[in-house]
C-alpha cells in the first residue's frame, strides 16, 4: 500500500496506543479494532512475519489478523511466561548451530493481542536473532547410580545425540534424575528405561493402529521402564499377577509419595509408565506439545543436563 502525503506510516515499531487484535486487517486499514484512514502500513503483516521467524506461527503472512495469528502470538507470549531459554540463531543458519541462552522474565501484555510493549519485545528478540526453542533437555543418565536404558531403548536422531542420554521435558528431568533415582537406590533396584519422549506420528508409515495423540510421552513428561530387582525384571505381567518383588512395590510407593503418577494405578493399567502429569486438556499441554514436537522436527539443539 503506497503511503500518501495525507497518511502517517504505521508499523510494528511505532504502534503507539494501538493494540493489534483479532479482526485487524492491513488492506482495510483496520487496526486496533478501528478503521484508521489517516494511517498506512502493514503492521499485521510485519507481526506475522516476526512470529513466523520466532517459530510460533506456521502460516503465511497475509495481513489479516485471524485465528492463526492470534494463536501464534499467544504461543510467543506463553513461551515468554513459561520457558526461560531461547535460541540465538543468525538468519540463514541451520537450527542445529544455534546457541541456547537464558533470558529474563518480561511483561507480554494481554494474550493474543499485540500492544506497543509486546511489539517491542518481539523486536528485541528479532534484533538479537533469537527464536523460540525446545523445552526438552538431554538428560545424561550415565552418572545416575540406579537408572539405565534397556537394549530396546532407541536413541532418537537429534543434534549432538549421545548414547547414555534420554530426552525429557526439563521439568521432568529433575524427577527422573532426583526422586526416582534416589528412591531406586534406597529400594536397591535399577530403573531400566524403555522410552521417554515420543515423536508425534512416528513411524510415519506402517502403523498398525492409530497412536494416542495426547500422551504424556509426547510432551516429555513420562518414562516407561522396568524395575529390575537383582536378576528379576519386574514385568507388566508380574504386576498383573501380583508376583512383583517387594522392593518394586517399595520403589513405587516412594516415587508416588514424591508426587509422580504410576501407570499401575490407571483404569487401564500400565505398570511400566511413570509421569508427572501435565493436564492433557490444558493450554500448557498444547503449548508444550507445540514447542517440543516442532523444535524436535526442526532439529533444534537441546541442553544436556
Amino acid at each position: 500500500m503506497a503511503i500518501s502525503a495525507a497518511t502517517q506510516p504505521i508499523g510494528l515499531q511505532n504502534l503507539g496506543t494501538i493494540t493489534l487484535r483479532s479482526g485487524d486487517n492491513d488492506a482495510k486499514r483496520l487496526w486496533g479494532g478501528s478503521v484508521r484512514p489517516t494511517l498506512s502500513g502493514t503492521p499485521v503483516k510485519e507481526l506475522q512475519a516476526a512470529l513466523i521467524a520466532l517459530g510460533t506461527l506456521t502460516f503465511a503472512a497475509d495481513g489479516q489478523f485471524g485465528a492463526h495469528t492470534q494463536q501464534g502470538l499467544k504461543r510467543f507470549q506463553w513461551y515468554i511466561n513459561n520457558l526461560r531459554r531461547r535460541l540465538k540463531l543468525p538468519s540463514g543458519s541451520p537450527p542445529s548451530s544455534g546457541i541456547i541462552s537464558d533470558y529474563p522474565a518480561a511483561n507480554t501484555g494481554t494474550p493474543g493481542m499485540c500492544s506497543a510493549q509486546t511489539a517491542a519485545l518481539i523486536q528485541e528478540w528479532q534484533t538479537g536473532n533469537f527464536v523460540t526453542t525446545s523445552p526438552l533437555v538431554r538428560l545424561n543418565i550415565a552418572p545416575l547410580s540406579n537408572v539405565d536404558t534397556a537394549d530396546t531403548f532407541e536413541t532418537l536422531t537429534y543434534p549432538s545425540a549421545k548414547d547414555g542420554e534420554v530426552l525429557v521435558h526439563e521439568d521432568f528431568a529433575g524427577a527422573l534424575s532426583g526422586a526416582m533415582n534416589d528412591e531406586a537406590k534406597r529400594a536397591g533396584v535399577m530403573l531400566r528405561i524403555n522410552q521417554t519422549f515420543r515423536r508425534e506420528g512416528v513411524p510415519p508409515t506402517g502403523a498398525v493402529v492409530p497412536p494416542a495423540t495426547r500422551s504424556q510421552h509426547l510432551v516429555g513428561h513420562a518414562v516407561d521402564l522396568n524395575i529390575v530387582d537383582g536378576d528379576t525384571v519386574n514385568t507388566s505381567d508380574m504386576f498383573k499377577n501380583g508376583t512383583e518383588t517387594d522392593d518394586a512395590d517399595k520403589l513405587i510407593a516412594a516415587v508416588k509419595a514424591n508426587g509422580l503418577r504410576w501407570g499401575g494405578d490407571f483404569s487401564k493399567v500400565d505398570p511400566p509408565h511413570f509421569d508427572d502429569f501435565l493436564d492433557p486438556n490444558s493450554e500448557n499441554y498444547d503449548m508444550t506439545f507445540f514447542f517440543a514436537q516442532r523444535c524436535f522436527e526442526k532439529q533444534h539443539p537441546m541442553r544436556q543436563v
Binding site: 494416542a212 511400566p272 492433557p280
Partner: protein, 156 residues
C-alpha cells in the same frame, strides 16, 4: 495389410497373456486368509487382536501399546506377517485359544506352536521374544515372565 493384421494379432495375444499373468483383483483377504497364506508360505504370523471403540487420546496404556506395536511393525522381520483383527472377528474365525481380554497378541510359528499374550503389550522386548519364537530363532523359555504362554491355534 496382411502384416498389420499379424502385428495386431500379436498385440492381442500379449494382452491376453498379461491378463493371465497378473493377479486378478478379488475380494480383500480377511485375517483368516492372511494367516493361512502366511503360514503356507513358511512365514511367522503376529496376530494382533484390537479392542473395539475409539481410544481415549490421553490413555497412556493405549498410547504405549500403540507406540510399541507400530514401532515393531515398522521394523519387523520381513519373514513375519502382522495381521490385525478385532476380538469379534477373532472369535468368528478362531476356535482356540480363547481370548481373555479384548486386546491380545498371538505369535504363530505354526498352528501347534503359538505364544499368546493377553492384554496390551507394554514392553517392546515382548515383540522380539515373540518374533524369535515365530521364526524359530533361539529357544523360548516361559520363565521369562513376560506373560507369553504357549498354546495352539485352531481355526474354525
Amino acid at each position: 495389410m496382411r502384416r498389420r493384421t499379424r502385428v495386431a494379432g500379436a498385440s492381442w495375444l500379449f494382452v491376453l497373456l498379461l491378463g493371465l499373468i497378473l493377479p486378478c483383483p478379488g475380494p480383500a483377504a480377511g485375517p483368516r486368509e492372511a494367516i493361512e497364506g502366511a503360514l503356507r508360505n513358511g512365514m511367522g504370523v503376529v496376530l494382533v487382536v484390537v479392542g473395539a471403540g475409539h481410544p481415549d487420546p490421553a490413555d497412556e496404556a493405549y498410547g504405549d501399546w500403540a507406540n510399541y506395536l507400530n514401532n515393531f511393525s515398522s521394523r519387523a522381520d520381513p519373514a513375519v506377517r502382522i495381521v490385525k483383527t478385532t476380538a469379534a472377528e477373532y472369535r468368528r474365525i478362531i476356535a482356540a485359544p480363547a481370548l481373555k481380554d479384548e486386546f491380545a497378541t498371538l505369535f504363530i510359528r505354526d498352528p501347534a506352536h503359538t505364544l499368546q499374550y493377553d492384554g496390551m503389550i507394554l514392553e517392546p522386548q515382548i515383540y522380539l521374544l515373540g518374533q524369535n519364537y515365530a521364526l524359530r530363532r533361539g529357544d523360548f523359555t516361559p520363565r521369562t515372565g513376560y506373560g507369553l504362554r504357549q498354546t495352539a491355534v485352531q481355526l474354525r
